[in-house]
């Protein structure tokens, strides 16, 4: 900001004028944008005025506001009076005496008439404001409805009396016969009860609420875990030497493969045992294993960092991995057992639930084994190489960095190319990842060769950022062209799935091989320049990846996710649960992570200074601070999920929405009104409850 000079008022006056002009221009621009929006959204003042539309909307609204919630049984009350066709000589209308007990009675004036003549029918003591109809009973006991004012039914007045004009029917050969007039009234009897529509809506509403509850509950754990990776303040500081990272990275797929095969075998074995397919010997073995786990857990802390200690702790890690997988298998097996044992009543419901969880564990054992295997192997690899990597000379560090970097780069691009092969536009992933790697190389080279570790100046930083962009764009273009991504995107075709390189259990296509080649070169160059001792900002990379994924997922509306899940698991609440869960994970992950970013960092610093490790710091310095806001935001999300689950049925995702859509399509607005009313009630109750709970915690 420049400051106005008080000694020369002229420039400040012209500045004020400029300001005014700018404001005017801004207002004009806003006006144009607004006017354009008016046109784009087809705002039309004439159409709502059309009489047909007005009638339609009035009717629809009236029906919506008369929801078909309650119904009642009716008893028919009939009162009749004789009637003479063609008045005989000297006929006099007999006087009507009101019954003493106050029951309904009617009178007709005159009590005789010829066809087509009009008589007046009056009635007293009827139920007020209730429909009634008049029936003509002729000499052969034939009954005909006589219309009143052109309608079959008429409404009895507020005091329970009526007076209507009836035309005497023309009936062949009825001259001189004695007929009768009967007034029937449907009188409500008994207590009002819910209509079938209401029952159906209530049923679906329960489904809706549980759909939202389950989706919210399932999403809590994944989003809580993701939120730590998406919290800038926790991740920013996480750095790792490139050497360790690359060792981890090359061991990761190996650990995943080995773990997926061997560890999942262990887990599967325990699972089969626990689910009741094993004998006494195995069960004893199992108990010993659990006992061993408990003992091992007590002996784990290390206090020295000699190589033997590392070796011992590495062995412990491997044993720990086996034990953890075995425990997971045990839990899964017990779940399956419970699922098979309990099938009736409430235990049956619980059994079904626990059984499904067991089945879920059984299905994901290869993945769990792989993940734990990867974790264990990378841990062991890091522990055993960390000292060696620290002591090597710079030249060796470059050679190793280049070799491991090449391997890591090939793995990364190989994986993204494999993903990219599955859909034409996913092919963009490989050039993007390659570009990120490429963007790091030139600035790194600059830092190493030109700057020689001196402090960066402003111009250095500018230059490095320019170099970064040049590298990014160049590598992107190169990869984009090499992999023919553009053609694939235009034509919607996938790269050919040929076998260019056959490894045991893994066939690699030309496309993936090309990507791996690019990754190899980029990784090798980058690794060689950086050397294994460079600090790599793992935390920031994980942070950006998590944030990108969360933001991307959040941008996809749950209704669209619902559409996809309906294709996968069929119409019904399960598809809705999956759609809402996925969206909730993305959205809660973001909300949670913002809570982490808002915490007081003092306790973190304090616990780090006591020698606590990262897990302990998070458990004791972060978790206590985030529990209240997490509860509040989970409530908030449940609230949103209930709203969403009321409409997820529109795409077949279960809940009350499906019913609502049907009723609207069939133009049954009174039934639709019931659903709308139910939604409004549930949503406002939840709105209130979640606000109350949030107020307590935030």
């Amino acid at each position: 900001m420049t400051q106005a000079n008080p000694s020369s008022p002229a420039p400040s006056r012209s500045r004020a004028a400029l300001r005014r002009t700018l404001i005017l221009i801004a207002v004009a621009i806003v006006l144009v944008i607004f006017a354009y929006g008016w046109q784009v959204t087809e705002i039309n003042l004439e159409r709502p005025q059309e009489p047909v539309r007005q009638t339609n909307v009035t009717n629809a609204l009236r029906e919506l506001l008369s929801p078909n919630v309650l119904t009642q049984d009716y008893a028919t009350l009939a009162v009749s009076i004789p009637f003479q066709i063609d008045c005989p000589e000297g006929f006099e209308t007999p006087p009507v005496t009101p019954p003493a007990d106050g029951t309904p009675y009617i009178a007709v004036e005159p009590a005789c008439a010829s066809s087509s003549e009009t008589v007046t029918l009056t009635g007293y003591n009827f139920a007020s404001n209730v429909l009634a109809r008049v029936t003509w009973i002729d000499g052969d006991e034939q009954r005909r409805i006589r219309q009143v004012d052109g309608q079959d039914n008429f409404t009895i007045g507020l005091n329970g009396t009526f007076s209507v004009s009836i035309e005497v029917p023309r009936i062949r050969g009825s001259a001189g016969e004695l007929h009768a007039l009967e007034v029937q009234q449907a009188v409500p009897s008994g207590v009002p009860r819910f209509t079938d529509t209401t029952r159906e809506v209530l049923d679906k509403m329960v489904e809706t609420i549980f759909l939202a509850l389950i989706a919210t509950a399932i999403s809590i754990l994944p989003s809580a875990i993701l939120s730590f990776f998406a919290a800038h303040n926790l991740m920013r500081a996480v750095r790792m030497s490139l050497g360790n990272l690359l060792v981890m990275f090359t061991l990761l797929p190996l650990g995943f493969l080995v773990g997926g095969v061997l560890l999942s075998e262990v887990g599967g074995f325990v699972l089969r045992l626990a689910s009741g397919q094993g004998g006494g010997v195995e069960t004893t073995g199992l108990s010993l294993l659990v006992l061993g786990a408990a003992v091992a857990a007590r002996r784990m802390p290390t206090s020295t960092l000699s190589f033997e200690a590392r070796l011992r702790s590495a062995a412990m890690t491997l044993i720990g991995a086996v034990i953890v997988v075995a425990l997971i298998g045990l839990i899964g097996g017990l779940g399956l057992l419970a699922g098979r044992t309990f099938t009736e009543g409430i235990p049956g419901v619980l059994g079904n639930f626990v059984g499904s969880l067991g089945r879920l564990i059984e299905l994901s054992l290869p993945f769990i084994g792989g993940a734990i295997g990867a974790f264990a192997l990378t841990n062991v690899g890091t522990a055993l190489t960390i000292d060696a990597l620290k002591t090597i000379s710079p030249a060796v560090s470059r050679v190793i960095g280049g070799a491991l970097g090449g391997l890591g780069g090939a793995i990364v691009l190989g994986m993204s190319a494999t993903v990219g092969m599955s859909a034409a536009w996913l092919g963009l992933l490989t050039p993007v990842v390659a570009a990120i790697m490429g963007g790091a190389i030139l600035p790194l080279l600059f830092r190493r060769v030109v700057m020689h570790g001196r402090r960066s100046t402003q111009s250095d930083r500018l230059l490095m950022s320019a170099l970064g962009w040049i590298g990014t764009i160049a590598v992107f273009a190169f990869t984009f062209v090499q992999l023919n991504v553009f053609r694939a995107m235009v034509e919607g075709t996938l790269p050919p799935n040929d076998v260019a390189l056959a490894l045991p259990g893994l066939n690699i296509s030309t496309y993936v091989l090309t990507a791996m080649g690019i990754g190899l070169v980029l990784g090798a160059v980058g690794g060689a320049i950086a050397g294994t001792r460079a600090a790599f900002p793992v935390g920031s990379v994980l942070y950006s990846m998590t944030r990108t994924i969360l933001n991307g997922l959040r941008a996809i509306e749950p209704l669209i996710m619902g559409l996809v899940f309906v294709i996968w698991v069929g119409i019904g609440p399960f598809a809705g649960v999956l759609a809402l869960t996925l969206h909730s994970i993305a959205s809660l992950g973001k909300l949670y992570s913002e809570q982490i970013e808002n915490i007081d960092t003092g306790p973190i610093e304090a616990l780090e200074s006591t020698g606590a490790n990262r897990l302990q710091t998070i458990m004791y310095a972060v978790v206590p601070q985030i529990i209240p806001p997490y509860i509040a935001f989970t409530m908030y999300r449940w609230d949103i999920n209930v709203r969403m689950s009321t409409i997820i049925g529109f795409v077949g995702g279960g809940g009350v929405g499906f019913l609502l859509q049907q009723q609207i399509n069939l133009l049954r607005y009174r039934d639709a009104g019931v659903a709308v009313l139910a939604i409004a009630i549930v949503v406002s109750i939840l709105d209130y409850a979640s606000a109350a709970i949030r107020e307590r915690y935030v």
């Binding site: 857990a297 007590r298 784990m300 802390p301 206090s303 960092l305 960390i386 620290k390 402090r455 960066s456 007081d600 003092g602 306790p603 610093e605 304090a606 616990l607 780090e608 200074s609 006591t610 020698g611 606590a612 490790n613 897990l615 302990q616 710091t617 458990m619 004791y620 310095a621 206590p624 601070q625 529990i627 209240p628």
Partner: protein, 252 residues
């Protein structure tokens, strides 16, 4: 013995907070670090346990190079160095006992943390530490329910759980009133005299430094301006450290 050699810290934004600082502190000394706000006191203390990574220089403690330690080694070093803070840095929603016990985490199996489990022996140790700082009856209270002085004593108890050989105190009494300040300083003095802990304590008031320390190190713009016994700081020296217009205030 703590040996600091040519320590320089340049922050990411290019600011040089420490400029070639070298020091030797024998075991058992009570060292006060003084200097104007922004002179680099906190930066120096945080470099010692590597809450901040120094840009250049070495810190050697009992023969171990702290600046070269890996993450694992660093944790083993840190658990022998206690630290207390101006803002106490307690977890306000947690109980006093949990806050104190969390000082022991470096010695415990990390798996315990997942289940919020502390062995009963650590509970006893925490109660002993609380008794030592005079507030055993507050163990069950929430940390936020304590007064500032009491919170700082919880901070000391937490550091005691580490069974430290050295104590770093970053303006431990700057948020406290004079009387409470003295009571907290007396606990530090006690640890120094009874347990033989080396104490490095940054202070705002020279009078406190005079009352409790064996040695004063004055920083100015990241450099050592004075290093010697507190009694040798006369008016001239004082003005050198704090600037021409400064006047010494007493704190009783």
């Amino acid at each position: 013995m703590l040996k600091i050699e040519n320590l320089t810290k340049i922050y990411d934004n290019g600011f040089k907070a420490l400029d070639n600082v070298s020091l030797e502190i024998p075991d058992g000394q009570f060292v006060a670090i003084i200097g104007l706000s922004g002179s680099g006191k906190s930066t120096l203390l945080r470099c010692i346990n590597r809450l901040i990574d120094p840009t250049e220089g070495r810190i050697i403690w009992n023969g171990i190079d702290i600046t070269a330690a890996t993450d694992d080694e660093l944790r083993l070093i840190r658990r022998r160095i206690g630290m207390i803070f101006q803002q106490f840095n307690l977890v306000k929603r947690a109980s006093v006992l949990t806050n104190v016990m969390s000082g022991r985490l470096g010695y415990l199996n990390p798996v315990y943390a997942l289940f919020n489990y502390f062995p009963s022996k650590e509970r006893d140790r925490a109660m002993k530490a609380l008794t030592r700082v005079g507030i055993p009856e507050k163990a069950r209270n929430r940390a936020s329910a304590l007064s500032g002085g009491q919170q700082q004593r919880v901070g000391i108890a937490r550091a005691l759980m580490q069974e430290p050989e050295m104590m770093l105190a970053d303006e431990p009494v700057a948020s406290l009133d004079p009387a409470t300040s003295h009571s907290v300083m007396k606990y530090l003095e006690l640890l120094n005299k009874e347990d033989g802990l080396t104490v490095l304590c940054s202070l705002h008031f020279l009078s406190l430094a005079r009352a409790y320390s064996d040695r004063v190190i004055a920083l100015k713009d990241g450099r050592i301006e004075y290093d010697g016994p507190p009694s040798d700081i006369d008016d001239d020296r004082f003005r050198q450290i704090y600037g021409e217009e400064a006047v010494e205030v007493e704190i009783h």
